[in-house]
């Protein structure tokens, strides 16, 4: 365990089971807005933060000795979105947050072999192919437009390479249209996010070592990410490489006037959990989006945004739940008067898009901010 047992128990004892973490701030608008996707979907106390903490206590105190179906489900069908903690800390001034506790809980469970097959199979795929989807082909980047000596390195990430390549394409398009020099990694390996989030820390070590080495070798001074999950992992789980780590929207706000032609699209902005709650990046995505679209505000946003439902290994293991969470978010965007739901994360885009197609017959468009920026840039 990375945290001391006493420290964990003490944080768990601090939870008073008030369940305020299950709703967004009620005042001043006096609206009942749920915050915890797993609790709302599954219903039992075990799926809300206070119930999960109690389960962790019982594991640490040796009361739970078997990986029952309910244990695996309640622990892994949590998107580790951190919404509960954002609410809790306002009320109880608790220091150790639920996401940290839940990741520690997963580490503890993984160390006992209490882990979902689908998550170990991701580890196997990564071991074999160095990407989380087990794909054997390479995402192709036009070698002519990259510059091996550029100060900026674009870390693409597995999801943008293999599941939503339109995001990677858009980011590369932006570099080209703005005439910016950039490079990509010769051999980009998975950042290890999914392994860290599902408790498989050991398996991630090799990936960290490789990526650190490659980045150091590249001589880049800035690494740009379109995936907040990768960015968070580099920020929190990687050693300091002495380079600047930036999300695409942070990078874009630094480019000054990009001559974007605004399209008048009514767009709601969905805060990705890793970008907002984990890294505190709320303003830059809004600043960039407001240059290309008319932003329609949703009721749950920023620290109290409703998670899209795909994080924490949920998408791979509990797809129905992931799609339900996404559909809830799409409903909210529609209520806000939006024509499109825009995010800044390939995981969010993928899940929201799938839900938009399956559950909402494509009523709403789903984009990543970089796609809109690329579209609105004079070529």
């Amino acid at each position: 365990m990375e945290l001391e047992k006493e420290e964990i128990l003490s944080a768990i004892h601090h939870c008073v089971k008030c369940k305020l973490c299950s709703i967004a701030s009620f005042h001043p608008n006096e609206e009942w807005l749920p915050l915890c996707p797993s609790g709302e979907y599954y219903g039992y106390q075990a799926f809300y933060a206070p119930g999960k903490m109690e389960i962790f206590r019982a594991i640490l105190e040796g009361e739970i000795t078997e990986p029952s179906e309910g244990l695996l489900k309640s622990v892994y069908a949590c998107t580790v979105c951190g919404a509960c903690y954002e609410k809790c800390k306002q009320i109880t001034s608790v220091e150790l947050g639920a996401p940290e506790l839940f990741e520690e809980m997963r580490r503890e469970m993984a160390s006992k072999g209490w882990i979902l097959d689908v998550h170990t199979s991701i580890a196997d795929k990564i071991k074999e192919t160095k990407n989380a989807y087990g794909e054997k082909y390479e995402y192709k980047v036009n070698a002519e437009t990259t510059d091996g000596n550029a100060d900026v390195l674009y870390y693409i990430g597995c999801t943008a390479r293999y599941r939503v390549p339109e995001i990677a394409d858009a980011m590369l398009g932006i570099f080209d249209k703005l005439g910016l020099k950039y490079q990509v990694m010769g051999e980009e390996w998975c950042c290890g996010s999914v392994l860290f989030r599902t408790g498989q820390v050991e398996a991630a070590k090799e990936l960290v070592a490789h990526n650190v080495e490659e980045i150091k070798r590249s001589g880049a001074k800035t690494v740009v990410f379109t995936c907040p999950g990768c960015l968070k992992t580099f920020e929190k789980n990687y050693p300091d490489m002495g380079v600047e780590l930036l999300h695409s929207t942070q990078f874009l706000t630094r480019q000054g006037n990009m001559n974007l032609k605004k399209e008048g699209l009514k767009a709601a902005y969905h805060d990705p959990c890793h970008l907002g709650r984990d890294l505190g990046i709320y303003e830059e995505p809004r600043a960039v989006l407001s240059e290309v679209a008319d932003i329609k505000k949703m009721k749950r946003e920023r620290e109290q945004a409703w998670c899209c439902g795909s994080g924490g290994g949920v998408k791979s293991a509990f797809d129905d739940f992931a799609l339900w969470s996404a559909a809830e978010r799409l409903k909210e965007a529609k209520e806000a008067g939006a024509e499109a739901l825009v995010s800044a994360c390939p995981f969010c885009k993928r899940n929201l898009k799938e839900a938009a197609e399956k559950e909402q017959q494509g009523e709403l468009e789903v984009y990543d901010i970089v796609e809109l920026v690329n579209r609105c840039l004079e070529g």
Partner: protein, 475 residues
């Protein structure tokens, strides 16, 4: 889990659907403990059942009754007294949170009819559309309206709401029979508490265990007024403000009146930890006046007049404090849980009781004295008075609070000592009653109430002869 029990779980799943009943150990563990664990130790229910309607409730109860299996109704589980933690092995926890419909809001009658899973937040979201609100406890607005009122959850954030918010309800007994109280028993009109014979609504509620499962409850709603004004007055002791409080109560002038010390509930009332509270006088009286135009002005004038002679210091505080106090009082308490953040890794212990305002200073003195005797430091000792109108005898809710590090086992021992002494001392000094008849206070109290204790037991026996409802929480 033995074979008989897993057969039972299958039967329960057949009633409520497979997804809604489980004996999974981890899921059961998540219901095993609340914040009162220093006093009510963790214990797993044997299974959790989540009925979706009253017919399912009835079938589950009858099944449990046949097999004499303890049943614990659970609406939201936030009672801070260990009331939903099982006492016996093999208990069914009946999680009623799926039953969360607001069945009616009747603006003419000023009533709302709700199922157990409806929380104060859910209800307020709807009632405010009619410029109405429920009576709010100072509990997080995630708690069940029905469970709170049924528990006789009647100290609230607005003194003017009086004491009784329950009008009538429907309860399913272990034998499957349905009991309806008040006018609800006679007709489809659930709007009058006193229907036939005695006030049964009162008799069935406020047991530490329950008599059956309440599936619907009709409660009073109160008006929301646009005119509001808040005052905060500082005092150095508990005795001085009592005359002022008495005047406010007597003339029914203020919607909310709360006397709190400057280190505890005030943080929730103001909604921030970040203020030099220690620079305020030791006790702060928070007063909120509201009303329609002419009446508001008249009340406000009188409050100001009484304030001039109250012997306290009128405090000038940031405007957002007044606004938070307003929200917390009249649209549902959300910040009250900040009391759990007071002592770092906070927990909250309190003895809640009803008594006359005249004894306020004595209760506080006794609180300090007993705490000192058992080794609880002075800076952990806190106090709260919440007056309630329209009762003779200057009815107030008092809270003798201690905030502490919840992970400190030794402190838990001190609190247990504190309770043992204080329950007896309070009974000696004189109280009207305990806030709720929760575990620990029953024993010393039952000794004093003579034949009433016998009648109480017999009464419960008639309704629940197999003693399945929250068995062990009482007698």
């Amino acid at each position: 889990m033995n074979e008989t029990f897993s057969t039972l779980v299958k039967e329960l799943q057949a009633i409520v659907g497979e997804r809604n009943a489980t004996d999974d150990r981890a899921i059961c563990t998540s219901y095993s403990r609340d914040q009162h664990w220093h006093f009510v130790p963790a214990k797993n229910p044997a299974c959790i059942v989540r009925p979706g309607n009253k017919e399912e409730v009835r079938t589950v109860l009858m099944l449990a009754n046949t097999h004499k299996i303890p049943v614990i109704p659970y609406s939201t589980g936030i009672n801070v007294r260990g009331l939903t933690i099982p006492v016996h092995d093999g208990s069914i926890l009946l999680d009623l949170s799926r039953m969360n419909r607001i069945l009616e809001i009747n603006p003419d009658m000023k009533t709302a009819t709700v199922e157990p899973g409806v929380t104060f937040g859910m209800l307020q979201e709807q009632t405010r559309k009619y410029k109405l609100r429920p009576a709010f406890p100072d509990a997080p607005l995630t708690v069940s309206v029905l469970a709170n009122y049924y528990l006789r959850g009647i100290y609230q954030t607005s003194a003017t709401d009086g004491h009784d918010h329950t009008i009538s309800y429907e309860m399913i007994l272990p034998n499957g029979e349905t009991l309806k109280t008040g006018s609800r028993a006679l007709s489809e009109m659930p709007y009058f508490r006193y229907g036939v014979g005695p006030d049964f609504a009162g008799m069935f509620c406020a047991h530490p265990g329950t008599c059956g499962v309440v599936t619907e409850l009709t409660a009073k709603l109160y008006r929301l007024y646009d005119n509001r004004k808040e005052y905060f007055i500082g005092f150095d002791d508990v005795g001085t403000p009592t005359k002022f409080i008495y005047n406010l109560m007597h003339d029914e002038l203020a919607a909310s009146i709360r006397l709190v010390d400057n280190q505890s509930w005030l943080k929730g009332i103001f909604g921030t930890f970040d203020y030099p509270y220690e620079e305020l006088p030791k006790f702060v009286l928070c007063v909120l006046v509201e009303g329609v135009d002419g009446i508001f002005d008249a009340k406000d004038t009188l409050v100001r007049a009484y304030m001039k002679e109250c012997g306290g210091q009128v405090l000038e505080l940031p405007a957002e404090f007044a606004s938070t106090f307003e929200h917390e009082s009249l649209s549902g308490a959300e910040k009250s849980c900040m009391v759990f953040g007071i002592k770092g890794r906070g927990n909250y212990h309190c003895i809640g009781l009803y008594g006359p305002l005249t004894l306020a200073a004595k209760y506080y003195e006794m609180h300090e004295k007993t705490a000192l005797e058992v080794g609880i430091p002075q800076d952990h000792v806190h106090f709260y008075i919440d007056p309630i109108y329209r009762f003779h005898g200057q009815l107030c809710y008092f809270e003798l609070d201690v905030f502490y590090d919840g992970s400190d086992e030794e402190f838990g021992d001190k609190l247990r000592n504190y309770n043992e002494k204080q329950f007896h001392r309070l009974l000696e000094l004189g109280i009207y009653g305990w806030f709720r008849p929760y575990a620990g206070i029953i024993e010393p109290t039952a000794e004093r109430i003579g034949y009433l204790a016998e009648v109480w037991k017999k009464f419960l026996h008639v309704l629940d002869p197999n003693e399945i409802m929250n068995r062990g929480k009482l007698f």
